[in-house]
Every structure is written in structure tokens, then in C-alpha cells.
Symmetry: C2
Subunit: 124 residues, 2 copies
């Protein structure tokens, strides 16, 4: 058995610059741990079966829900339960470094397919 | 549907002082997100079926494996695959604030039962 690796997230974010394009950094229990740089608005969507955990390493991520808005910064986390409509975005053009954990089967745009949809995510 | 809640981890850690006693802060996809304050040594153990993700909010956590030692600090993460023997510990008496994600079924001491074993974890 190889020695498990410590992943330094800052080093991983330094490897790419494209936005809204999640990269896989680890997996556990049928889920992927993904990181992305995001700026501006994503689309309203939901994931029918999958809960989705959001954390933020740098900046502030906002999530609009039908019932209101939440913000997430470093040292915070939020779980979007399956089926709940949400729209991630950032304010004032800020680029935010986010981390997500969700089942491997999860499509980034959930029930929506558009130009941001990514069928297969790369490891980084 | 209630508005999903942003969890501020620092506020959660401030609510308890006992060590090696994980508290649940969130759940997703059949797993619990747990936090704990740890200092000193835990026991060698493994989890037969469950992968375990470790993150650190404050301090440095060390993990001994049969093949070597890894350290984890803020901004880093490490996944211990199912079946892999590991021993968490801290150095010089440092109290470290850790976060773990693992299936709800996971026993903290894995295949070992001793005075650190906790059958049922509280939410905080």
C-alpha cells in the first residue's frame, strides 16, 4: 500500500486558471473532492439525488436559494441537500477558490445542460 | 424547504473543550462531517470499509502509517483509504482542530475498541 498523500490545496489551485471548471483532487466513499476557481454567475440548478458540500479557500462564495442567500468564506462550509435549487455566484468580479464534495455521478450543472456543463472532470 | 445554513467552524469549536471526541456538524450522502480537538496520541486502527478524509483548521496533525508519516495543516487534506492502518497524533502537546468526513457507520477507533471508542456521536 502506498503512503497516502497530503494534498496542499494552494499548490493545486496554482496549476490552472480556467473558471467554473472543477478538477478532482481526491476521492472517498464514491465521491470526488473537487476544486474550482469561480467568478461571476453560475446557473440555477439542482442535483436530484446528490447532496453537495461547499467550502471556500479564498474569497467569498454566494449561493442564492429560493428562500434567500447565504455566503461562504474560509473556515465555513455549507451542504446543499439533494433537490434544492441553488445558484452560486461571486460579487464584484471576485475570483473565489472553492472546494466541493459530491458523488462521482454528479454533473456540475445538475438538471441543466448548457455551455458550462462538463461531462467528465480531470484529476489535477 | 428551509434555507441551508452556513456553518462557521470556529464557532463550533468554541462550543466544546473535550478532546478526541468528534462532534457532527453536517451530513451529506450518508456521511457525517465531524470536528474534533485533539492533542497527544490516538490508537493505531483502520476502517475496514470506509475511506476517511482529514482536514485541519488549526495546528498540525500527524498521521503515522506503516510506510511513513504525513502531516496535515490548514489548507491541506488527506484521505485515508479503507483498510489502511493509521495513528493520528499531535506533537509537543499542541491542540489541533481537525475536520473529518466519513460514512455515518464509521466508528472512531475503527477495528479497535477502547476507552476512546464512541458508539454514538452528538451533533453540535
Amino acid at each position: 500500500m502506498a503512503l497516502p498523500t497530503t494534498i496542499t490545496l494552494k499548490e493545486k489551485y496554482a496549476l490552472f486558471s480556467d473558471q467554473w471548471s472543477p478538477k478532482i483532487v481526491a476521492e472517498l466513499n464514491g465521491q470526488h473532492v473537487k476544486i474550482a476557481k469561480v467568478s461571476g454567475e453560475f446557473v440555477w440548478h439542482h442535483h436530484a439525488q446528490e447532496d453537495e458540500l461547499f467550502m471556500v479557500l479564498e474569497g467569498t462564495l454566494f449561493l442564492d436559494f429560493k428562500e434567500g442567500t447565504q455566503s461562504i468564506g474560509p473556515g465555513q462550509l455549507l451542504v446543499v441537500p439533494a433537490g434544492v435549487e441553488h445558484k452560486p455566484y461571486t460579487r464584484n468580479g471576485e475570483e473565489v477558490h472553492i472546494l466541493m464534495i459530491e458523488p462521482k455521478s454528479t454533473l456540475n450543472t445538475g438538471n441543466v445542460t448548457n455551455d458550462k456543463t462538463q461531462e467528465s472532470l480531470p484529476w489535477i
